[in-house]
């Protein structure tokens, strides 16, 4: 009886031991030849930050590692806030954030900060309306009203007005937001604040915002899952996730009154609307270009100006250069917007500050 009661525990413990043993032997097997080849050549870079560009960064780092087997880059997608925090505390070699660091945040970093926009992406309003096959169009009044909780039903006149043929049902709208603090929320709420005074004076822009209505999921995947599981749901997710999850995305009214679908060209138009200043920090809260998709953001890598170890600096610069050149070709497939040429040039110039 006693033993039977402990069986699950025994099973778990023995499985864990087995796992550790396998892991250990593999690690040893992998380390063995590498150290034999020459440990002095291998270098590891540590980075932490945004989840939004993580799939693209991971792709870069894997591809870079294939070309330079001696360089290992560990990127932990803990979120923009964590990225900035760990970067400030010198726990990592580089950080990443969807919200560029503010002057206050940069001030305490004594080694200096270089902000490098590495890629850009759109944030879309994905929804779940099982019996509506056409892509719906949302006016600015409509989507602000929805997230403020003023429009509660899908057949509200504010929505049906722009979707005459869609036959929208009398379903309750469930707004899905992010429960964790996130750069995606920051970009979305900054846009809302730019187009609506009521949002600006109410919930306001921020990484963790008190949404007046709806439910919240953890991370882009959590939000995607909730939207897919809830008829009548609408929520903001990063374009790449919506694309992969195959969710319908609303066409949004932009500044010039056009209804724009999120894709590569409308994203590029949005980026073209803003000229990056010297410090490479710009927020595109409401692009004015006629065909621009309205919610687009750059995402930044955070680097120190001075590194203790010259090799770390050189390797990091080489990795960043790779991302800015060959790396940009992976963007479109993963749902990101390749950087415009002038931004890449500006980045290359800024790389000179790192040593």
């Amino acid at each position: 009886m006693r033993i039977v009661r402990k069986l699950p525990l025994l099973a778990v413990v023995s499985l864990a031991c087995l796992g550790l043993a396998i892991l250990g032997s593999r690690l040893l097997g992998e380390l063995g030849p590498a150290t034999a080849l020459g440990a002095e050549d291998s270098i590891t870079l540590q980075g932490t930050g945004a989840t939004f560009p993580a799939p693209l960064y991971q792709k870069w780092f894997v591809e870079y590692n294939k070309e330079h087997p001696n360089v290992q880059i560990n990127y932990q997608a803990l979120g923009s806030g964590a990225g900035i925090k760990q970067f400030q505390q010198h726990l990592v070699d580089f950080g990443a954030s969807d919200a560029a660091m503010t002057d206050d945040e940069m001030a305490p970093v004594k080694d200096g900060v270089v902000l490098l926009p590495m890629t850009a992406g759109a944030i879309v309003l994905a929804y779940n309306l099982p019996n509506v096959s056409t892509d719906i169009k949302l006016s600015r009044d409509a989507y602000v009203g929805i997230v403020l909780g003023k429009i509660t039903s899908w057949n509200d006149p504010a929505i049906t007005k722009t979707n005459p043929g869609a036959n929208l049902p009398d379903t309750k709208i469930t707004v899905v937001s992010r429960s964790d603090g996130s750069g995606t929320t920051f970009v979305f709420t900054s846009h809302l604040s730019a187009i609506s005074n009521e949002w600006k004076n109410g919930p306001g822009p921020g990484k963790a915002v008190n949404f007046p209505v709806g439910v919240a999921g953890k991370g882009n995947p959590g939000v995607s899952a909730l939207i897919k599981q809830t008829p009548g749901a609408i929520g903001y997710v990063e374009y790449g996730y919506a694309l992969q999850a195959n969710m319908p995305m609303a066409l949004l009214e932009n500044k010039s009154g056009k209804y724009v679908r999120a894709d590569l060209s409308s994203g590029k138009d949005a980026l073209a609307s803003v000229q990056l200043p010297e410090n490479l920090r710009a927020w595109i809260t409401d692009p004015a270009t006629p065909d621009a998709y309205p919610i687009v953001t750059y995402t930044w890598l955070l680097c120190y100006k001075k590194y203790q170890n010259a090799k770390t600096a050189d390797t990091l610069k080489s990795v960043i250069k790779y991302g800015l050149t060959q790396g940009q070709s992976f963007s479109a497939d993963l749902g990101y917007i390749p950087l415009p040429g002038n931004v890449i040039d500006a980045d290359m110039k800024a790389l000179g500050q790192i040593s």
Binding site: S179, K207, A208
Partner: protein, 363 residues
């Protein structure tokens, strides 16, 4: 506990002593001797180290409380008791209140516990009162093969398999429960939730429709998560009902159900209650599954289908990106959760102790 263990270790030697002294008389060598100083030393060392480890656990709990309390101090000063009554968590405007989270924590835990208790107790009775063997015996008799000893031990084996299976539920990671909840439980309860809302919407507990995540799916998954705790301890306390009582009950002519409901369950009631309290502690602290299923909305509602928030989910969601002020507020919330959990667990332990003491006379 630790002293008991040392005694148990010392007791192992005892049965072999007569044999040793017999051998001693044969060889004319004096073997019985006072323990050597080395033995005394190692004995003492063992006892001291177990004691130290035991106290270290207590110290650890104290340390956690103190360090959380220290970090929470600024926000305790800043928000005071208003923090417990506030209904808005808005890091953007530095307004923090955890009333919805407290209510959501208690509501979802109690709901999950109620469902878990009904099923857990039923399973415990089934597993402890040999329902399986009587059922199987009847079936076997109809086949005319009840004499076989392998078949006779079959019910016990099946019972053990069932028991282990239920206990294995405790080994499933809560993220898995959360995912399962999102993709299976929510779609499963939606039709009935919508029906209840549209037909019985005037009852407060059905006053809102189910918008994906909400209290009901969260409570259902919690019920499954507390099931192993409740089943295991309830079963143990039902098995521990003294045989005298069983025999007396049947001897008085009680039917099986009368005996179970009027004698066994009341006798084991304190143990069962302790199981429920321990399950409650588990439910209160559950984080990941609830963060995925409760909806993370700061809403206070009677409705079973309304989204809600819990303290543990609030902490998990907001920590990674929190700034200095919010971290203080989160620590305050952690302290509140710790206090609730501690109270519940202490109550559970006390009740379990009383249960043991109450049964002593019967054994």
């Amino acid at each position: 506990m630790t002293i008991g263990q040392t005694e148990a270790v010392a007791g192992i030697d005892r049965p072999s002593e007569p044999a040793r002294s017999e051998m001693a008389s044969l060889d004319e060598v004096e073997i019985s001797r006072p323990p050597s100083s080395m033995e005394v030393f190692s004995d003492r060392l063992f006892r001291r180290s177990t004691l130290a480890v035991a106290w270290f656990t207590v110290f650890l709990v104290g340390w956690i409380v103190v360090s959380i309390g220290r970090q929470a101090m600024p926000s305790i000063h800043a928000y005071g008791l208003q923090f417990l009554r506030g209904t808005v968590w808005d890091a953007n405007h530095a307004r923090f209140g955890i009333l919805p989270a407290i209510i959501g924590t208690l509501y979802s835990s109690i709901l999950g516990l109620a469902i878990g208790t009904v099923f857990g107790l039923a399973i415990a009775i089934f597993l402890s009162e040999h329902f399986l063997s009587s059922g199987l015996e009847a079936t076997l008799k109809s086949f005319g093969s009840s004499e076989d000893s392998w078949f006779a031990s079959l019910p016990d084996k099946i019972e053990n398999v069932l028991k282990v299976t239920i206990e294995l539920l405790a080994a499933i990671p809560s993220v898995v429960y959360g995912l399962w909840g999102i993709f299976v439980v929510i779609p499963l309860v939606r039709p009935s939730a919508d029906w209840l809302h549209s037909h019985l919407g005037w009852i407060p507990i059905f006053s809102t429709g189910l918008s994906g995540p909400g209290l009901m799916p969260a409570a259902l998954v919690l019920a499954i998560m507390v099931l192993p705790t409740i089943t295991a301890i309830s079963r143990d306390s039902l098995v521990a009902v003294p045989p005298k009582l069983r025999e007396a009950a049947f001897g008085m002519g009680a039917t099986r159900w009368e005996a179970i409901l009027a004698i066994f369950v009341p006798t084991a009631a304190t143990g069962i209650f302790g199981a429920i309290i321990l399950g409650f502690g588990r439910a209160l602290g559950e984080t990941m599954a609830l963060a995925m299923l409760a909806g993370n909305a700061n809403v206070i509602s009677w409705s079973l289908f309304s989204p809600a928030n819990t303290l543990a989910a609030l902490l998990a969601n907001h920590f990674p990106e929190a700034d200095q002020i919010e971290v203080g507020a989160l620590m305050y919330a952690a302290l509140v959760l710790l206090a609730i959990t501690l109270i519940v667990n202490i109550a559970g332990t006390l009740i379990l102790q009383r249960a043991d003491a109450g049964l002593k006379g019967l054994r």
